[in-house]
């Protein structure tokens, strides 16, 4: 996102001595803020995790509970993320390719999970699937458990992550327009080949970007999952919940050791995002097309 417009180019805006000092002060203040507020917490995670030495760290992340939490986190992400990709593609196809009544309401509804507290999000599913909820007693009779079981964790994760893909794709596909797809249809391509041969190649970077955001959030989700999980060790604890449980048991080193895995996932997310932005120019494309129109 580096300066698309050169602000210092004009002679009129040539900075005075005073302004140059101001610039240095502002940059220093920003860097200091980031160092103290963002870098220090990350450094603290690793410092705490390794405070008892490497062997202790290794043993901590090799514990069976941590490994099974890691597996569950992976499983949940593998179900929730592809479903949300499908939803994102479907919603953005409907919204950007057709004109219908209530479109802006639909876009607003997609934003709901970003405004709702994760705790409330998890609780919604307790209301529907819990023992005191609408479907709970019936599900329990059929020996199928959603709340305090894996399906509830998957549902809560889907809820908190489903806007990400759609929100990346909608502005992107809007900016791209439908000319190429219409041309393909006119030339006789059927729906699926239009999608696979024209749409998907065009949106692949934006889709990947949204998917990474959704995956990152689904790995790290805590509040919503915490409400529906029941915290059953080895069965319904995801990695963030395992971190919480270890921490509350005063196993601080083990908690921070497990937290390093999540921190690494977050760092990988940031790096991947930057790579995609740099190689594909996803966001520039949207802005250029908006500028043209």
């Amino acid at each position: 996102m580096s300066g698309r417009r050169e602000h210092a180019s004009s002679a009129l805006l040539q900075p005075s001595m005073q302004q140059r000092v101001g610039r240095v002060v502002l940059i220093a203040a920003a860097l200091l803020f980031l160092a103290g507020f963002l870098v220090l917490p990350v450094a603290a995670v690793f410092a705490q995790a390794f405070s008892q030495g490497w062997a202790m760290y290794r043993d901590s992340i090799r514990q069976e509970d941590v490994l099974s939490a890691l597996r569950l986190t992976g499983l949940v992400a593998c179900i929730a993320v592809p479903l949300n990709m499908l939803f994102g593609i479907s919603a953005s196809w409907a919204i950007t390719r057709f004109d219908f009544h209530g479109k802006s309401l639909l876009i607003t509804l997609i934003d709901i999970p970003l405004a709702v507290s994760p705790v409330v999000a998890g609780m919604m599913y307790v209301e529907v699937f819990g023992l005191h909820g609408w479907l709970g007693p019936w599900l329990s009779d059929h020996n199928f458990h959603v709340i305090f079981a894996v399906p509830g964790i998957v549902l809560a994760t889907i809820f908190v992550t489903f806007p990400f893909v759609a929100r990346e794709l909608i502005p992107f596909m809007q900016a791209q327009g439908s000319d190429e797809e219409v041309a393909a249809v006119v030339l006789g391509a059927n729906g699926w080949s239009v999608f696979w041969r024209v749409t998907l190649p065009n949106i692949k970077w934006a889709l990947l970007y949204g998917t990474i955001l959704a995956a990152s959030r689904s790995i790290g989700e805590f509040g919503a999952v915490s409400v529906v999980s029941g915290h059953i060790r080895g069965q319904t604890t995801t990695l963030p919940l395992e971190v919480e449980m270890l921490y509350n048991e005063y196993s601080f080193t083990a908690a921070f050791a497990a937290a390093t895995l999540l921190t690494l996932a977050a760092i990988v997310t940031l790096v991947l995002k930057k790579i995609i932005e740099a190689t594909s120019g996803v966001h520039q494309q949207i802005e250029e097309k908006e500028a043209k129109s």
């Binding site: 996102m1 580096s2 502002l26 409907a94 709702v116 797809e181 790290g220 509040g223 971190v243």
Partner: protein
């Protein structure tokens, strides 16, 4: 042509399109949205409504609940002001200046989005606790952060400020230098240019970003509960109170408080949408 027929029977459509898939994509989108969002949302609201109006009011205004609103909304307000301040600073520096390591700084701003909230929570607690890297310098001076409302503010600012940066930064980057040049040529100094030229354009974005930061802070759970201390009446946030009620099997009470929180969320969404609508209308007029 069965395809054509299908398009005509879709009464919501306001303009026909040659593209296929309208029924499939609309149906999947609406069913998904209904199952994942609308039905569960209705369930919570109806359960809260079961209390009746006076019962609902009694539950959501009980002293412990009111205290949790004060803690949550007060901390969220302070945190979103701090987020606005530091978010604006970072957006400005990233949009206007070039310096070594700028790309890393730009990537780092998203860290609070990517870092799981539980990790942020335990890490901030470790930093500000009595023996922590920062706490050991603050505690002797009588500044207590961990397990006080100040800690809640810190955690909420951590998760909130990237919203401000990401709202304001693109607006500052797109600002036409010609406008500032014109102001400068007419004799405006730096401050006048900032107040008269930049601020009016950046303000709606700042408002949107701050509202999003406030929404996130008010609903935040994971990063707050570790550092808050969670003392009822003093440092107990509303989200935690809901969890406590659920653990006590008071589902109706939890649903009522959740209903109150949902009302707040929808109000913030309304503010954000109105701001965006206002900006679009203003820009439309200018063009």
């Amino acid at each position: 042509m069965p395809d054509k027929k299908a398009k005509k029977s879709w009464s919501l459509l306001t303009r026909s399109s040659p593209l296929p898939g309208v029924r499939l994509s609309m149906a999947f989108t609406l069913i998904y949205l209904t199952v994942i969002v609308l039905i569960p949302l209705t369930a919570i609201l109806l359960h809260g409504a079961r209390l009746g109006f006076s019962g609902f009011l009694h539950t959501v205004t009980a002293p412990r609940v009111m205290a949790s609103y004060r803690v949550t909304l007060g901390s969220a307000a302070v945190a979103s002001l701090l987020s606005a301040l530091f978010g604006l600073l970072l957006a400005w520096v990233l949009a206007r200046y070039s310096f070594p390591g700028k790309r890393i700084v730009d990537a780092l701003v998203d860290l609070p989005f990517a870092l799981p909230t539980a990790v942020a929570g335990i890490s901030l607690t470790a930093l500000y606790a009595e023996s922590g890297w920062i706490g050991r310098y603050l505690e002797p001076r009588g500044i207590h952060v961990a397990f006080t409302p100040l800690g809640i503010v810190m955690a909420m600012s951590f998760v909130g400020f990237p919203f401000v940066v990401r709202s304001v930064q693109p607006v500052l980057e797109d600002l036409d230098p010609a406008m500032e040049e014109a102001a400068a040529s007419l004799g405006a100094n730096v401050w006048q240019r900032f107040i008269r030229v930049i601020a009016p354009v950046a303000f709606p974005a700042l408002l949107t970003g701050t509202a999003l930061a406030f929404a996130r802070a008010a609903g935040e759970y994971g990063s707050v509960i570790f550092i808050a201390g969670n003392m009822p009446m003093k440092t107990e946030i509303t989200a935690l109170l809901i969890v406590t009620k659920l653990e006590e099997f008071d589902y109706t009470g939890a649903a009522a408080i959740a209903g109150a929180m949902l009302a707040l969320s929808f109000m913030i969404m309304l503010v954000v949408n109105l701001t965006q609508w206002w900006v679009q209308r203003r820009e439309g007029k200018r063009v």
